[in-house]
Amino acid sequence: MRLGAWILLALAAPAWAGEDDDLGLLPQSSPTAVPRSAPTAATSRLFVENAATFSSVRGGLLVPAPPPFTPRWEERLLADARIEWPVATNAHMTYSGRLNLMVQDGLGFPNRGNVTNDLRELYASVEPRDRTYVDAGRINLKSGVALGFNPTDFFKARAVIDPLTSDPSALREDRLGSAMVRAQRVGEASSIMVAYAPKVTDPAAIASDPDRGFNPLWGRTNGTERWLVKASAQLGDGVNPEVLAFHENGRWKFGANIAESVGQKSVVYLEWSGGKRLGIADEAFAFGRATGTIPSGAPIPITQGGDERFRNQVAVGASYTNESKVTFNLEYHYNGAGFSRSDWGRWFSAGEGEPNSSPVARELWYVRAYASDRQEPIQRHTVFLRADWVDAFVPKLDLTGFVLADARDGSTLWQAEANYAKTDLWSFGVLAGGTTGGRRSNFGSLPRGGSVVVKATRYF
């Protein structure tokens, strides 16, 4: 050892020239920014965005789609705000909303649809004891660990309005909360939460709400009375499962989700929910009758058997991130209430050759609008692949893409997006999306063929 030390000492003599070459890589100027300890008042995210959308319409549909027709272009200027501000040492308020100025193919100008306001959240939070919380107001309550489909996200139904993207993992940002009271206790290694969302008004009919103006749309978010209880526990080494029980319209649904790291680069996750319910078509027609969209005596073009039974929804998947900052998520989604192969057969057979003004075509497309409104896949088996590349080619350029494929017929919904943060305050993005598949396939039978969105965002 001592001989080794002698040798090392001799080597240590002057500077270590090779190492000192690295000093040439140091920035020569000092940073102009200084560390900020914390926001002293509100935590906020404010931005103004301009988005122009151009869409192509697919012709020759096997089952023609009734109006309203897909707009070929849309120009939207929006102001988006999310603000949390303290009102006492143990209380704060949260506001989240979006004001849209919109002109659109077929919408006309001026009319009520040109200016709309989405009141996403407005609620008060109090912490009466350490880590015991009570919240009241309009709250966006989110659950789940998957990206493409969240079976345990019970409050997602009917909450998404006028999204600029089809990316399921981004849709959560543009959704309305529900009026509710929520209590939560976060323990040392566990949490329990109870939420109660009362029925405020009758459920609103499914419609595109183009002239909603400043209507808070309580009929979408609080048309029924709902309870949610969820609990999670830290079981050691990062294992953090969550169990949920949800009550709506006299029926219980149960759910669970868990996500776990595998090695350095992967996460695997599983999300499940189940409860007694109808198939999605039967449920849609029942809802359509209850809300007056479908006349009570109108014949129903298809049925999934009309039986109410225990049905499961599952999302299972894994993420993988490589050293080039690309993260892949691959998921399989199962919806036990969704369309089987024979259900699709009935859907196409019932509507084939019908004019788009016929009640049959309207009712068939109503089923699909209902599934979309509830953020639920209409198909039974789905494969979802998403890739997200951070700092692609140049710093601050993010590329994101996904493909959502119906495992029955191979038809797809896809989207690719590039976002470049030019400065701390300005971002620019372009997004292209579309559907592929044959005329008798799930996504190939949709009226919207493809779309392109160009957007610029200024943050404040």
Binding site: R2, H92, R172, S266
Partner: protein, 256 residues
């Protein structure tokens, strides 16, 4: 005369060398970890200034809550303060448990150790890591190198190998100043042996009860035109309950 001086110098060097190796490499790493990190829970403001080809390009700001667990690892909770597009986002970095929370979607997403490195918040985690807990160290030599201010520093050159599956990098070369145990420089390598980052520690000032580096300059070795200066400020001891380090607390974090 010269012969006598050489003998004296030789003896002196032998004494120095033997005292240098009296401390094991692992003890040196543990000692330099203590220079970077306080043993008590603390919060700190962290600003990252990104440079491209020597020009300031972007800024990120965080509030960092940090606490050592029983096993020598640091548990970190960060909230973005800047840039405006990211304000309010939170990241939980706790051993093998990593969660990202976005208040806009109210969604908590579990991320892998590798995915954590795609975000700037990971720099906070890397800077507070206790290397002694995750790496086995050996002394590769004693070298005199220039620090970030081009001052000569006589350092232990340490070779660190990942010893746990929570280690972020497979291999680290680390230079620690003899006597003060101040970290001077680190080189961080991937599993494949690729040099990923070079970090210089500088601006040693009184912080959290000791003299610690207030700045780290992080050079992207893959694209050497990219560099980030991480600056710690407003550091203070603060109780950070264990309950904060779980996904259900992330939406509840309030910075006051």
């Amino acid at each position: 005369m010269f012969k006598r001086a050489a003998v004296i110098l030789g003896l002196l060097a032998a004494v120095l060398a033997s005292s240098a190796f009296a401390q094991s490499a692992q003890e040196i790493v543990a000692a330099t970890d203590k220079v970077r990190n306080a043993a008590q829970p603390f919060r700190s403001a962290l600003t990252l200034t990104e440079y491209v080809a020597g020009q300031e390009r972007a800024h990120s700001g965080f509030v960092l809550f940090s606490k050592e667990d029983g096993g020598g690892h640091f548990r970190n909770l960060l909230q973005y303060v800047e840039p405006p597009r990211d304000a309010g986002k939170r990241v939980l970095l706790d051993g093998r448990s990593f969660w990202f929370f976005d208040p806009a979607s109210q969604a908590s997403v579990r991320i892998s150790a590798q995915q954590r490195l795609t975000g700037q918040a990971a720099i906070g985690d890397v800077l507070t890591v206790n290397l002694a807990a995750d790496y086995s160290a050996a002394i590769a030599g004693i070298e005199t190198i220039d620090d970030a201010g081009r001052q000569k520093r006589t350092c232990w050159h340490l070779e660190l190998k990942a010893a746990t599956d929570t280690a972020v990098y497979n291999r680290v070369e680390y230079w620690v100043e003899q006597g003060t145990f101040r970290p001077v420089k680190g080189k961080f390598y991937s599993d494949s042996g690729r040099l990923l980052k070079i970090i210089y520690f500088r601006n040693f000032t009184e912080r959290l009860g000791a003299v610690r580096p207030a700045e780290a300059v992080i050079i992207d070795a893959v694209d050497s035109s990219l560099a980030t200066i991480a600056t710690f400020g407003d550091s203070r001891f603060q109780d950070v309950p264990d309950a904060w380090f779980q996904r259900d607390f992330l939406p509840r974090l309030q910075i006051r």
